[in-house]
């Protein structure tokens, strides 16, 4: 007790800064630190799966149709849910995704939408998160460039 009284001021300073740090870490944006790590699955492409690979996924799958009126529900396994892309970060939906135990599969007509929502959800710390696609060759160039051999460089 004697020591506590003697260094009272010090302890107050330390406690206040610890409280500030705690406050900051609890009220931060909701994204995890180390964005690189949470984006890693997209670097290797292992987060993109086709309909066939979807069948091989084990566990309790939560399939999400990212469309305004559930247009794509037919393409997804039973038990799929649908909500508009804009509502994914709503507290209720985000909590449901986070609490789901098993793979979460995203599907949208536009691959740009599912890619972006994949990144957003992954950065909030969601694991076992996949993008479902009909065409696995989205990032493959489908056209061959034919150089014009008649062009002379101007020197």
């Amino acid at each position: 007790m004697h020591i506590l009284k003697k260094y009272q001021l010090l302890f107050i300073i330390v406690i206040v800064s610890a409280a500030l740090v705690l406050f900051k870490s609890l009220t931060s944006s909701g994204f995890k630190s180390d964005a690189d790590k949470w984006a890693a699955a997209s670097f290797s492409g292992e987060n993109v799966i086709s309909q066939e690979q979807l069948k091989d996924l084990s566990g309790n799958i939560l399939a999400i149709d990212l469309s305004d009126h559930g247009e794509n529900m037919a393409k997804l396994p039973e038990g799929a849910v649908s909500f508009p892309p804009k509502s994914v970060m709503d507290d209720r939906i985000l909590r449901m995704i986070h609490q789901h135990n098993g793979p979460v599969v995203l599907y949208a007509d536009d691959l740009a939408i599912s890619a972006k929502i994949w990144m957003l959800l992954s950065q909030t710390g969601q694991t076992q998160l996949y993008v479902l696609t009909d065409s696995m060759d989205n990032e493959t160039i489908k056209y061959k460039f034919r150089p014009d051999t008649l062009i002379k460089p101007e020197l």
């Binding site: 800064s17 500030l20 740090v21 900051k24």
Partner: protein, 200 residues
């Protein structure tokens, strides 16, 4: 978000003014702490006065802790803070020369200027010596270029080499520092030189 000099459109005159004010503060604090006395500085090597190591270690640790807290609260972007580049051999040779000059002259470059400002004659000679050395280095650079650029490691950090997180490394360094302050106080009692310290 700091460092403020990297904010786009930050005027150069303000940058220089801030640097000037910090410099004035640094020089004033050095002189107030008695660092303009070469006997106080040399005391570090003989053990009767360990103020130097305590001051510089405290400064380093306060900056380390402070910058990390500021970074955590989004006030400072640590990735923009300059990290000195590491040339292994040049650092060893340079360190030996600097250490020898320090113990012989009784000043390090900063405290030398601080002593010069209060008109110490030995500091003036020290300062001229420093300038001569810089001149000789520049003139002889083509001959020692290979040594100077040898074993370049880039801007490395110790905690990255050791594979520790910055926070854990900071804690280890603080524990080391606390132990060292304690050893330093024992040394001050053991190698006490009241005849010198009473005049400082």
């Amino acid at each position: 978000m700091g460092p403020i000099s990297s904010v786009p459109g930050f005027p150069e005159w303000l940058d220089l003014t801030i640097a000037f004010l910090i410099g004035v503060g640094f020089g004033f604090a050095l002189e107030q702490a008695g660092f303009s006395s070469s006997r106080k500085l040399a005391g570090m090597f003989y053990g009767y006065d360990t103020t130097v190591i305590k001051v510089f270690f405290t400064a380093a640790i306060v900056a380390l802790v402070g910058s990390q807290f500021m970074s955590y609260f989004g006030l400072l972007d640590l990735s923009k803070v300059f990290v000195n580049e590491y040339y292994v051999k040049a650092s060893i040779v340079g360190g030996v020369i600097m250490g020898a000059g320090f113990i012989m002259g009784g000043f390090c470059p900063g405290t030398g200027l601080s002593a010069l400002s209060i008109g110490k004659i030995d500091a003036m000679v020290f300062f001229i010596g420093g300038l001569t050395g810089a001149f000789l280095f520049a003139e002889s650079f083509p001959f020692i270029q290979n040594l100077a650029n040898d074993s370049y490691k880039g801007p490395v950090k110790i905690n990255e080499i050791m594979g520790l997180s910055t926070g854990v490394f900071t804690l280890i360094l603080i524990v080391v520092a606390i132990a060292m302050f304690w050893v330093a106080e024992i040394a001050e009692k053991k190698f006490a030189r009241p005849d010198i310290t009473s005049q400082l």
